[in-house]
Amino acid sequence: MRTKAKGFSREASEGHAVAVILSRPVVALRERRLNFGGKWNYMPAPEDSKSYPIAPRHELFIGGKFVQPHSKQYFPSINPATEEKLTEIAFAEATDVDKAVKSARRAYQNVWSKMPGRERGKYLYRIARIIQEKARELAVLESMDGGKPIKESRDVDLPLVAAHFFYYAGWADKLKYAFPGKTPEPLGVAGQIIPWNFPLLMAAWKIAPALACGNTVVLKPAETTSITAMRLAQIFLEAELPEGVVNIVTGPGDTGAAIVNHPDIDKLAFTGSTAVGKQIAQAVAGTKKKLTLELGGKAANILFEDAPIDQAIEGVIAGIYFNQGHVCCAGSRLFVQEGIYSMVVKKLRDRIQTLRVGNPLDKNTDIGAINSNAQLRKIRDLVQSGVDEGARLTQTQCDLPEKGYWFPPSFFTGVTHAHRVATEEIFGPVLGVMTFRTPEEAFERANNTPYGLSAGVWTDKGSKIFNMVSQLRAGVVWANSFNKFDPASPFGGYKESGFGREGGLQGLAAYCRLR
């Protein structure tokens, strides 16, 4: 080494350019690939689930008690990662729903609507604190029942669940200042039907504002994800929430229909598919029931040439692969400005290769299990249609577990607006990538959908952001970020993505009559 070092100076300085280039080996163009191989593999790091046993059977929660369903029938709840039965869930019929509504009505008339806001707030604060204390347990149950990675249920779902209760607890005693010049009054009994993608979080979005405003609740969780809702019922008991203020009935769509059609419901809130939302809107038409709907989406994520591309890629990944793409506001349509298209596709291909698919309870898992076999079939069908219609499919190369419902992170290129994968909501980890040239083209195409829940804009230029935001027909537009949620921020859709807002001050309005 030393002799070389001594000898270099004169010769090297004569041929500086050569020295610079020669000192660094060059990889040929077609071999310029990143190698995400097994040089340093992560061992499995599963979260402990043994400490949180699940009861073999779950009853209905009516009038502050766990009661058997009238039918005495139960249906299994499956762990989508193993296909094993976790527990049995009570099947509520119209009779049970009627009992729940009556119980909610009694609680509304006798207790909850008469209680001062500051007292209602105390219950909500208490619930929020107990949720924080039990956050780990709830996160584990959420991941076992729904298939979402523990990383997300632990770091996203549960903190947001607690935050929603804290946020609306704060409003309970300040309602009369919320709407200047108006006096808010509670509506009565709220029927709430929630989806399976964020079971606890959706329960929090629905229950917290309803209770803060003085309403009582009949809640129906989704058929495949009832366990954490029933655990939430136990938390209500622990918080000594007066009986009947929240009632939880479990079952399939028929149970939901019984809530929708019950004559003594004052307010309905539904989050789920657009098809069911339309049925509910029809059923409710001409009744006294107030309605808010939060339905499907096919969000556009618009990526301009002047965006920091690597950061935008992270946003695209978070936008579509978060929670296996089971997100109504998922950024499922990516519009890339033409000049950076090939670079973006290359980076996307690399990036999805680093997403780890597998056991939802493994702390290193990025993509968990698809929520149900039915949903997996729907994703497969739609992806097959994309292939049949000539779009190019890119997927991660990874081994999927033998049992359970899995779908690898995927994206389509060569997609047009005439492809089903670019128009229909897939509700899975599948992205469609398209190009555009001008901002006008971008928002025209982004708006060319029956949905309008969310959108994303990526650019370093502030004026462009404001211009795009004013043109996009979407309830939420994220600028240089995606899938960010906060209880203080209203969330809801345009067009067939629904109406009404959840979260923030606007979320209160959905549960009040203003005089």
């Binding site: 300085s13 080996p25 060059v26 990889v27 310029r32 990143l34 340093w40 992560y42 690597d310 992270e314």
Partner: protein, 285 residues
């Protein structure tokens, strides 16, 4: 998104054999550093010995990548390590740490360090010129330093704590790589903040784009502020998931650190033996 993504690497759960392999890899990537006014030939000799064999043979730990010293101490390191050492000698130069010196003397420093036996030169950029927008001057200085380095590898230190913004870090990375840097390095260790995960991520992304454009693999060296084994593992996760396996080697990734090594060694012993050993069992570093 930079901070968020950087934080996500720290959430990977690195346990068992993965942890042990990662810790050993971290040792092999250490540039064991002493950059003090009171440095002595004796301390350098001690550092060289520690770099050659960081811990008892039974733990099967490789030597560190390099020792990093001031130019005046390079010859002592070379005397101690000899000509064929697996441990490289890195010398800071070009008016380290400020870079506020005439170009002529900067180049003379580099030349002498190389003549004295440095395998690697850790230069600092002229942050004054960079922040004043004189990017061509920064480029020229790096290119001239590279020329005078000859076969010695050139690491270019940005002092990201003084560049402040990610945009600046990204631009400095591009300038340095195009001007001939073999490695880009965050910090001198004399300014706070030194290396951070988000800043390192921005530099890794610049390295990735430069590789795609030119086919040249540039190395990365975060330096300063990395003190614990846990931090080091998070950096390795970041390298693995940003640039892939090819960069997980001392030829392309280094830690510039003085206190990191002992924490990593402690963790290695703990992982192997099952319990922690007192600090007295580890030689100073």
């Amino acid at each position: 998104m930079v901070e968020e993504r950087a934080a996500s690497f720290g959430k990977r759960s690195i346990k068992g054999t993965t942890k042990l392999a990662g810790l050993k890899m971290a040792v092999s990537m250490c540039d064991l550093t002493t950059l003090e006014g009171k440095d002595t030939p004796g301390k350098v000799a001690y550092l060289c010995r520690k770099a050659l064999q960081p811990i008892e043979v039974k733990y099967d730990v490789s030597s560190c990548a390099a020792v990093c010293v001031y130019p005046n101490l390079v010859k002592y390191a070379r005397q101690f390590l000899g000509g064929l050492s697996p441990v490289k000698i890195a010398s800071v130069a070009t008016g380290f740490p400020s870079g506020q010196y005439p170009m002529r003397t900067k180049l003379e420093e580099v030349r002498r360090a190389a003549v004295d036996g440095a395998d690697e030169i850790d230069m600092v950029i002229d942050r004054g010129a960079f922040l004043a927008g004189e990017h061509a001057k920064v480029f020229d200085e790096i290119a001239a330093t590279k020329e005078i380095c000859g076969p010695a590898h050139l690491k270019v230190i940005f002092e990201t704590g003084e560049l402040v913004t990610y945009d600046n870090v990204r631009l400095a990375s591009e300038i340095a790589m195009q001007a001939g840097a073999d490695f880009i390095k965050t910090s001198t260790g004399k300014v706070s903040p030194a290396a951070t995960m988000p800043v390192t991520l921005v530099m890794l992304e610049a390295i990735r784009d430069y590789f795609f454009a030119t086919g040249i693999r540039i190395g990365m060296k975060p330096a300063g502020g990395i003190r614990t084994a846990k931090q080091a593992l998070a950096y390795l996760v970041m390298v693995k998931e940003t640039l892939g396996d090819d960069w997980l080697c001392p030829q392309l990734f280094r830690f510039g650190a003085s206190t990191l090594l002992n924490d990593v060694l402690m963790q290695i012993v703990k992982t192997v033996e099952g319990n922690y050993q007192a600090a007295d069992y580890f030689s100073l570093s």
